[in-house]
């Protein structure tokens, strides 16, 4: 399959190789442009989500929310970003300085890496890896290293507890997440996210969500485990502010703290985007993205975001409604219920594929 980087490569290769530029440099250039664009877009979305979170929580709680900077307070998040940039950068004396500085970048880079394989609709994907899903699962596990590192390096007991909690939590919830994604892989027969999107159709009965009853369960498990993986209420243990003060990031300030924050909100979007692409048909409008013009491709992008945005809002809504579980209850929920159920979904989907020759529950309708 083609990706945005491939197309840029094709366009700039003839011009640049004439000047004797090595092929490696051209490839790097071709990837640098869409990478930068995606990082910018995801950061922008994360910023918008912080604004939305504050505005929606304000609505839920009978407050006004940010309304001073710009129209309806829309410029609040860039202003917050600038404020955090200008803040004094404090590193505790007793901290392990190298690890302390490294941890936020690890956390942030893991979410940014995950965004590289997200198909934004049309041909807008930085790299359409043939192991896309595996890649996402692997890089999102990098979060644990960053959290544990920040918790340890801060030399603060609360931060250490937060780091340990996040390690236990994220590693546990990796399993149901991966297993529920694998049910879709069984149906689509590929790990490439772009191909998974194209294997679905524009209508709800063509989505993998409604392929068979077990994919519905897998979707629900994926979404709840996603909440756990991005440390959102009711699973916000690593930073449980009323228990661990602020958890792993308690000693961080300024831009380092902002990176943790940006990573959290980026991962809200990435989880929603992944759910939209894998279960809800992504930006599929029934046309081949590589044969369509730019106009159709933008429609696909719009469709993709129309599916991802409600999931982001749902995440925010859940946070401002539910209390927090206790850590042992959270672990019991994962190992006693989610892991067996998601495994059952995987096996039963395999059985379904065998029984019905790979057809979904609505396959007759799909043929109309």
């Amino acid at each position: 399959m083609y990706s945005a980087a491939d197309q840029i490569y094709k366009n700039i290769e003839p011009a640049l190789s004439g000047y004797g530029v090595p092929d490696m440099v051209i490839t790097l250039l071709a990837y640098a442009v869409p990478c930068g664009a995606v990082i910018g877009i995801v950061s922008m979305i994360a910023g918008m989500l912080t604004y939305l979170e504050r505005k929606i929580s304000a609505d839920i709680q009978n407050r006004v929310g940010p309304n001073r900077v710009g129209p309806w307070g829309l410029l609040q998040f860039p202003v917050d970003g600038v404020k955090l940039l200008l803040k004094e950068d404090i590193i505790p004396d007793a901290a392990d300085k190298k690890l302390f500085k490294l941890a936020p970048y690890l956390v942030y880079s893991s979410t940014v890496l995950a965004s590289l394989v997200i198909p934004f609709g049309g041909s807008f994907v930085v790299a359409d890896l043939n192991i896309g899903l595996i890649f996402i699962i692997v890089v999102s596990s990098l979060l644990v290293v960053g959290f544990l590192m920040s918790g340890w390096a801060s030399n603060n007991k609360w931060a250490l507890l937060g780091g340990i909690r996040s390690a236990a939590q994220i590693i546990s919830y990796e399993i149901p997440t991966a297993l529920s994604l694998l049910t879709v892989v069984l149906i689509a027969g590929t790990f490439s996210l772009q191909e998974i999107v194209m294997a679905q159709g524009p209508w709800p009965w063509q989505w993998f969500l409604f392929h068979n009853p077990f994919t519905v369960v897998a979707f629900i498990i994926f979404f709840i485990s996603g909440l756990a993986e991005m440390n959102r209420t009711p699973f916000d243990f690593p930073e449980a502010e009323s228990e661990l003060v602020s958890g792993y990031n308690v000693e961080y300030s300024g831009m380092r703290f902002a990176l943790f924050f940006a990573a959290e909100f980026s991962s809200i979007f990435i989880t929603a985007a992944l759910a939209a692409a894998v279960f809800l048909g992504g930006g599929n409008i029934g046309r081949d993205p590589y044969a369509s013009g730019l106009g159709w491709q933008l429609v696909m992008v719009a469709v993709f975001f129309a599916k991802a945005a409600p999931l982001c809002l749902l995440t925010i809504w859940v946070r401002w409604t539910l209390p927090r579980l206790r850590i042992d209850q959270m672990m019991a929920m994962c190992w006693k219920y989610f892991v067996p159920i998601s495994f059952a979904c995987l096996v039963l989907t395999a059985a379904w594929m065998l029984l019905f020759d790979g057809n979904g529950i609505f396959w007759r309708m799909a043929k109309l």
Binding site: N62, K157, I164, Q329
Partner: protein, 374 residues
């Protein structure tokens, strides 16, 4: 023995921890997430209120009683006023008694909102806390109409109350209690009280049996949550509480064991409803005319003697032990508060629970730091 040695971690929780309700400090000995022991360390809010009492006049001490428990200041005013009136033999006009009850019960409702709201906040549920504070805002408006202050009300006087009801207060107050009893409580319970996550967090956590509660002299809602129907408003009635028809909610162990944190949480919501009933009856029977304060001499003195009077505060029994030597200021005042005994039991019931449970236990006991230290 394994070749790796493990050791318990000593954690310092507070005095500026988000869920220690003011400035409490706990020294936690933890084994990972499990707690071995939580030792409370108090005294950060000590202001010497009892010593101040020996230096100011009898009436002059009234504003200081606001600061004993600033979340329920009218109840503290009332306790002190009742003690001094009984010692000095001052009669209180009928109308003033009704006004006192209305203000005190409103204050109890507001205090319980803070109590269970803060508990929910500690459990990570921010929205219910804000919803509780939204209702408390109406209380603040009401009490501001009544006495001009929103936090330290200083409404009760020795021999009466400070002001008569302002016009429009009765209607607004009636609408408020109707809204609470018939609308808010139901909505709130649907939102959070019957939420499975909340029940899992609170049920069977920090169980206090009736005997243990008695041993540690727990009072107020914390004692009643253990199944003991003891309420000073009924059992040792003061002011005019014997004229009202209300129930004493007790813990039932609805989702877990009798006397667990859920009982202590839910009993406060039930008490809000009972307070609404009292306020409605008081508004119905409130005399239209009459004095609101007994005229006292300019130099008010209390005949020599001593008295102990206990009243029902939202956080338990508030006792004033007052000694007078016949002069214009008290000889000695000792204050006994509910939070202090609630505080002592935390060390006992928090052995072997998780750190997250300790937060739930502190919140469910509704400990307020200024009441402990005074």
């Amino acid at each position: 023995m394994s070749k790796y040695s493990t050791q318990e971690m000593v954690l310092n929780m507070g005095p500026h921890h988000p869920s220690t309700h003011g400035v409490l400090r706990f020294i936690l000995q933890t084994d990972g997430e499990m707690m071995v022991k939580a030792t409370p360390d108090i005294g950060f809010l000590h202001r010497g209120i009892e010593k101040i009492a020996e230096r100011v006049t009898w009436q002059g001490f009234m504003p200081y009683t606001d600061r004993i428990d600033y979340v329920a200041s009218v109840n503290c005013n009332l306790g002190y006023a009742v003690a001094v009136e009984r010692l000095a033999g001052v009669a209180v006009p009928e109308k003033a008694e009704y006004l006192r009850v209305i203000a005190a019960e409103l204050s109890r409702i507001a205090s319980h909102f803070i109590g269970f709201g803060a508990l929910l906040l500690d459990l990570g549920a921010v929205t219910p806390f804000v919803h509780a504070l939204r209702e408390r805002e109406t209380f603040n408006d009401l009490i501001e109409m009544l006495c001009g202050a929103r936090l330290t009300h200083n409404y009760v006087r020795i021999g009466g109350v400070a002001q008569d009801l302002p016009p429009g207060f009765a209607e607004k107050c009636r609408a408020f209690v109707d809204h609470l009893e018939y609308e808010f409580v139901e909505e709130f319970n649907e939102l959070i009280s019957f939420n499975t996550i909340l029940i899992n967090r609170l049920a069977n956590v920090g169980v206090i049996s009736a005997e243990t509660a008695n041993d540690y002299t727990l009072t107020g809602p914390n004692l009643r949550a253990s199944g003991v129907a003891f309420d000073l408003r009924k059992d040792e009635s003061y002011s005019i509480y014997d004229r009202f028809d209300f129930d004493i909610p007790v813990g039932r162990g609805k989702y877990g064991t009798l006397g667990d944190s859920y009982d202590r949480y839910f009993i406060r919501i039930e008490e809000v409803v009972q307070s609404c009933r009292i306020i409605r009856q008081a508004l119905d029977r409130l005399p239209q005319d009459g004095e609101i304060r007994t005229k006292l001499p300019k130099l008010f003195t209390v005949p020599a003697g001593e008295i102990y009077v206990r009243t029902e505060c939202p956080r338990g029994e508030l006792g004033f032990y007052v000694i007078s030597d016949g002069k214009k200021n008290p000889f000695r005042i000792k204050i006994r508060t509910g939070s202090f005994s609630s505080m002592t039991i935390i060390e006992h019931i928090s052995q072997g629970v998780m750190v997250a449970d300790l937060v739930a236990i502190i919140g469910s006991l509704d400990v307020v730091a200024p009441e402990i230290d005074r």
